[in-house]
């Protein structure tokens, strides 16, 4: 993962619950996703065609309290599988925030993003500088960048690959 990426926006609402809007709980529990193709379920309770419409590199812009409810993280695997390059939220639930970073999905908290970005806009995001450029309307949004060690975890593709690298380097 590079620190800069560009993608087309899909907009969603507030309080997206991991078990209700992001991935239906029943599907998760039935083990129907054993093939690990979580991607085909992502956001389907809100937009049944979302997994088919989305293309690699697309960005999800969501409202407040993103990923609320339980700490289930199949939806994040699914977003990674669909090639979502990052999720930009007005605010993020603690579990969703931590799970996203630990699974290598860039997550950005940026208050006011929903007012400045519309569905279909193209954004250029720089994780290190904390800047979002809206290439469609020319606007710029700022956010507080993550500390370097978390960017390094994201760059490694998540916590597990990061630790594997550390082990290989003799640091663990």
């Amino acid at each position: 993962m590079a620190c800069t990426f560009k993608g087309k926006v899909w907009v969603f609402g507030d309080n997206l619950d991991v078990d209700k809007e992001i991935i239906p709980f029943r599907e998760r529990e039935q083990g129907l996703m054993r093939d690990e193709n979580y991607g085909k379920w992502v956001m389907t309770p809100v937009d049944p065609d979302f997994p088919k419409k989305v293309t690699k590199g697309d960005i999800m812009v969501v409202g407040t309290n993103m990923g609320c409810g339980h700490g289930h993280y199949e939806g994040i695997h699914g977003m990674n599988q669909l090639g979502i390059s990052c999720v930009i939220a007005e605010s993020v639930d603690r579990n969703f925030f931590k799970n996203s970073i630990d699974l290598g999905l860039p997550i950005i908290e940026c208050e006011g993003v929903k007012q400045k970005v519309k569905e279909g806009d193209v954004l250029e995001v720089n994780l290190q500088d904390g800047k979002i450029k809206n290439l469609t309307n020319g606007g710029v949004l700022n956010f507080t960048p993550l500390p370097d060690f978390l960017l390094e975890i994201l760059e490694s593709g998540g916590l597990e690959p990061y630790i594997t690298k550390q082990i290989a380097a003799g640091k663990l």
């Binding site: 209700k20 709980f25 054993r34 309290n65 409810g69 639930d93 925030f97 916590l159 597990e160 630790i163």
Partner: protein, 426 residues
């Protein structure tokens, strides 16, 4: 400048003088136990194999407990629960986990109940687990947070990263009415601040109501604190909490409490005397009503259990309401004790036989119906439960509806076959 209980615990764990909200920390944790449940174990083993990791950070700190779905014969990921516990146990032995850390059925319960019973979560300590409801242990002044996707990494390394949250103080004054329980206080606060009202922050509960509240009530409130978006809920531990742990462990622990001049993002004041029994209405977790607005709703199933209830006080309350009465002929009432120890304790008081006489179904200690593992709800059933949440399909079929209320409300409703105010039975 003063510090909150959570800032003090995090600073101590990180080996720092003090920490401030917004700060990111990465530190090794020496004195925590971590349970690996049968539901996540096989995935952990698979991950270790796939990643080529060959050892645990400290096998003596790992507990293997078939808790979430221990005795149920469910098959998940093509592995039955029994098989998954056997795989977990064998793997743990191979990795050097001591025999006394590998628990069998009959000696277990729901993971967070177990953490309190066994004093793995201590006042002033850090408690990690791969389950959402780790903050339950905030009820005893312990910093409990969910590892979720980071569990495997933690098992290998023993370190984790955290962001220091801001704290919000919830001061609950007055005195709760009989039949209004800790859970009602939390749901009432949720109704006031909404599902993101404490987003990424700590809910610190204080005031005369909290001082009087039992440990069981505090644990229940902290368990459910996550539904306001909170990172965790916590209560400053008092002498009765400290005594509970002193009687159970020889391990040294240092309880922390907030300084009088600690800094809070906000302070809310509520009059506990005015709080009515609260009911959460499906399908959203955050639609909360006073009981009078939903009284009379017909139910087919009632459930007390999970990390949100099933403690001594909850079972006693159910027995108090059901004594000399019967569960409605059309209702199945599943009561799942939180742990074998809790079940044994209340059994000595006659609670279990009262519940059996009333026609309750007493389920094996653990998580019970909450994640839909035991007696899952059939199509179109209507349930009132004192468990954690109500997302469609959570407790069985997606068409089933789950209302959430206190154990008192659940017990009263089970008698009448419809949602009922428990105060009339007390």
């Amino acid at each position: 400048m003063g510090k909150t209980i959570v800032e003090k615990i995090m600073a101590k764990a990180a080996g720092k003088e003090c920490v401030s909200p917004g700060e990111y920390l990465k530190f090794g944790i020496k004195d925590t136990f971590i349970q690996v449940g049968s539901d996540v174990g096989p995935r952990t083993i698979e991950a270790f194999e796939k990643l080529g990791w060959d050892r645990l950070w400290d096998p003596t700190k790992i507990i293997i407990a078939p808790e979430h779905c221990g005795s149920y014969s469910r098959t998940r990921d093509k592995v039955t629960n029994r098989e998954s516990h056997r795989l977990n146990s064998e793997w743990a032995r191979k990795m050097g986990v001591p025999e006394e850390n590998i628990l069998e059925l009959g000696r277990i319960g729901n993971c967070h109940h177990l953490a309190i019973e066994k004093a793995w979560a201590l006042p002033g300590g850090v408690y990690l687990h791969s389950d959402t409801h780790c903050p339950t242990v905030g009820g005893v002044g312990c910093f409990g947070v969910n590892l979720s996707a980071a569990e495997t990494s933690f098992l290998r390394t023993g370190w984790m990263w955290f962001r220091v949250p801001k704290s919000i103080k919830f001061n609950v004054t007055g005195k709760l009415q009989d039949g209004v329980m800790g859970r009602d206080v939390l749901e009432y606060i949720l109704s006031q601040i909404g599902p993101s009202g404490a987003l990424y922050q700590v809910m610190e509960f204080t005031g005369p109501v909290m001082e009087k509240m039992s440990m069981d009530g505090r644990l229940s409130m902290c368990c459910l604190s996550v539904f306001t978006g909170a990172k965790l809920g916590i209560v400053n531990p008092d002498q009765k909490i400290i005594n509970w742990f002193k009687a159970r462990t020889k391990v040294h622990f240092e309880p922390q409490v907030s300084d009088p001049d600690a800094v809070y993002a906000k302070t809310y004041e509520y009059d506990g005397s005015k709080i009515e029994p609260q009911v959460v209405i499906p399908p959203n977790r955050h639609t909360v009503k006073n009981i009078k607005d939903v009284e009379g709703t017909q139910i087919t199933t009632a459930f007390i259990g999970s990390c949100a209830s099933g403690r001594d006080e909850d079972m006693r309350m159910a027995a108090r309401i059901l004594k000399g009465r019967k569960v409605n002929s059309k209702v199945m009432f599943n009561i799942t004790p939180g742990s074998s120890q809790a079940m044994a304790r209340v059994d000595k008081e006659g609670v279990i036989s009262t519940l059996l006489d009333a026609g309750c179904f007493i389920c094996a200690p653990g998580c019970g119906m909450c994640p839909g593992f035991y007696t899952p709800l059939a199509k179109n059933e209507v349930c009132i439960a004192s468990s954690t949440t109500n997302s469609p399909g959570r407790m069985g079929e997606e068409s089933a509806q789950v209302y959430l209320g206190s154990p008192a409300t659940v017990a009263a409703s089970a008698i009448e076959g419809k949602i009922t105010d428990p105060r009339k039975y007390l």
